[in-house]
Amino acid sequence: MKKILQISLGIVTSVGGFLEIGSVMTAAQAGAAFGYQLLWAILLGTLCLIFLVEMSGRLAAVSKHTIVEAMRERFGFPFFFIVLIGMVLVAFMVLVAELGGIGLSFQILTGIGFPWWAAPVSLLVWLLMWKGTFGLIENGASLLGLVTICFIVAAIKLRPDWSSAASGLVPTMPHMDKAHYGFIAVSILGASISPYLMYFYSSGAIEDKWDESYIPINRLIAGLGMTFGGVLSMAVLVTAALALRPRGIQVDAFDQAALLTTTALPKWGFYLFAMSMLFACFGAALEISLAIAYFFAQGFGWNWSEDLEPSKDARFSLVYTIIILLAAIPLVAGIDPVKVTMVSMALTAATLPLAIVPFLFLMNDPIYMGKHRNGWLSNSVVAIVILISFVLAVISIPLQIIGG
């Protein structure tokens, strides 16, 4: 009985944790600009994420190490330092985007501009980390994140043409706007395959004291949870394709995205969208701040746990305090969170090899993993998707910059 509760809670967590400003904005842009044609990118990203999240949990359950701990031990300090710089920079940008997403949700609800929200929102995120426990953050934030299911309802109510939607699951090239298409595809992959989610998940497995008996549960949680999450993203794309595309609306700004659900759910659509984004971004902001603090603490061997009083893991608490403080600054200055989102998603995709290749080494390490090592299937799926994302990123990011 306890296990069933754990499984369902885990799945809820992953569903609630999947959607954030990055996946919503990229999926909405894709649907508005290219109809169903980019559904394959979500499929591919989600598939890869299922494998990666399963691997993160398995590594923690078997070796009792988080990804970062094992990486530092196996590859040494200099390599760890390079990954630290890359991952923390990208994760920091994503954090700015999420905090901005919360501010934008408040902005469309109240009319008060997001720069005004940056400080109180950051303070609230920080306060929850300061006072809250891991369980509260993991379960509380993600239960609220279930509002995002409204996107599935919206997509179904718009009566999509299932067969043409299905054909979007196969990658094809568009006739025009190839560079833009590539860039959105990369951003979707970056939004789906978020390394911070893996760091957060593997640290969570350690905080919850997983052992080898959790391997099947972990598989179920990763598989079902991420699948639901992927379906949510697809629902956003489908809604955008049906509600915004016929009117020629492209999603360049948050207030355009806010119109997403007003057609399908006339009465509550707008408020559901605002609440969804609010909770989803809030959950993501918590997870990212924690993931960054975990990254430092685990790499340097400090004491870390979200369940301890801040003074018991002072350096860990200091890291997230500083990070959240810093992330508020560009928002107060009025930087456009949607632009930050798109750039950070593409950068995530471009830096994926840095995060994933060492991780693959660890998953094949007989000393850490024993008989629970990766099989050829996990290795090849992850390696291929990462390669595709990287190549797409390297080609399309410069094109996007040239094309403005």
Binding site: E73, F81, W130, W302, S311, L318
Partner: protein, 124 residues
């Protein structure tokens, strides 16, 4: 046993399983004719940064002099304190007395405890 694979960069735990950093460096004594042996484990300070680039170590040392606890030298723990070297490395020392937690304590006292709700570091 392999020194780099199995010892370097591993997590250090004290007698009470309190984490006290990682094996950032190892000191080896090389004699004229005697067999070389590992004498100390080094934690923190400029040790890990030297491995990235000496410039980082210099910069770090400079910053540490401006701000932080007085100690800037890396902590050295004699190898004889190593109890087990498995998944983590266990030492029969008390972390607080080695200096490995100087920064942790300094940050707790000077920053974290001054913020409401930060809690109190217990003293002995």
């Amino acid at each position: 046993m392999n020194l780099v694979r199995d010892v370097l960069d591993k997590k250090l735990l004290d007698r009470e399983d309190c984490p006290m950093g990682r094996v950032d460096g190892l000191v080896m004594h090389v004699g004229e004719r005697s067999q070389p042996r590992i004498t100390h484990i080094r934690i923190g300070g400029s040790t890990p940064w030297m491995r990235v680039h000496p410039a980082f170590a210099k910069l770090g040392a400079k910053l540490a002099r401006l701000w932080g606890p007085r100690r800037t030298e890396p902590v050295r723990i004699p190898w004889s304190h190593v109890v087990t070297a498995g998944r983590d490395i266990k030492l029969d020392v008390k972390a607080r007395n080695t200096g490995a937690l100087d920064w942790e304590i300094w940050i707790a006292e000077h920053i974290i405890e001054r913020i409401p709700g930060g809690g109190q570091e217990e003293e002995e």
